[in-house]
Homo-oligomer: 167 residues x 2
């Protein structure tokens, strides 16, 4: 049992942005490159993080994305609960289970999922970045090659089209 | 975040077998048919449940599969922990994350997963079958069509080949 890659990439994005020097902006392209993740996928991640208020996104030349809250204020349990599509533990419809109307498994799994989220709510972004000083060289943070020609990464036609679903 | 279909089907199988009248055996074919699940997939599920001691499987004519423990003794948290391939919460290698050596997210997720399992350990198979009397008509338990010509479902060449990996 694992968090989805969507949630995983959202946490990686927050870690990356929180690792940047103050006031340094990044872009979807850069985060995608750092983690070797599809840019289309990352556009959706960043779109949702922006919508939820975790990141700022400034369009246009000189724009970019940046962390919008102090790492101490970003609760990991809450981020996971917001980013996961499903916190019901099981899909009784794939394939459809005829016991669904009377089975208590789903209710039990909901209790288990709540226990998971409650445990994760004990952590902030700062807590999972206690080794922050080791992150910068691993993330190539001081080598922003090509950043001057990048925008937020939410602007090209393909990305805007994809991102519309998130607004 | 959800349990895998492998774990889901294993719980469905235990529910089905525990719903049968005492001493009535079933087969992999029948469980597959009841839940509309691929028989090859179900052979693997049943193979692992047998290995873990949750079900009996008797080969040959007149054989079949049956529940091996009282529902009150089958702990749902333990079944989930045993059936899930991964209880680490995140795959730092897909795609490979360069922060893995120093990031604390994985450790935090392990704590969350332990909280999930601990919550699920409060449930037995009997607890999720409190409406057991409603199950039989939904599972067609009294219509064992073709059961007389069925074995455990672990015997044909294809299934034996698949099941070798589970022993």
């Amino acid at each position: 049992m694992r968090i989805t890659t969507f949630t995983d990439f959202s946490l990686r994005t927050l870690i990356y942005l929180a690792s940047l020097p103050p006031d340094q902006m990044s872009s979807v392209q850069q985060v995608s490159r750092v983690y070797n993740v599809s840019q289309n996928h990352m556009v959706k991640v960043v779109g949702k993080l922006k919508k939820l208020g975790y990141i700022h996104a400034q369009r246009g030349k000189g724009g970019g994305i940046s962390i919008a809250q102090a790492p101490e204020d970003i609760n990991i349990g809450r981020v996971i609960a917001q980013m996961e599509n499903h916190m019901d533990g099981v899909d009784c419809n794939a394939p459809a289970c005829q016991l669904a109307p009377c089975c208590e498994l789903r209710k039990a799994l909901m209790v288990g999922m709540q226990a998971f989220i409650a445990a994760m709510e004990n952590y902030t972004l700062a807590d999972i970045m206690t080794n922050k000083e080791q992150f910068s060289p691993l993330l190539f943070i001081n080598q922003p090659e090509g950043l001057d020609q990048e925008m937020t990464g939410l602007e090209d036609n393909q990305n805007v089209a994809t991102n519309k679903n998130l607004d």
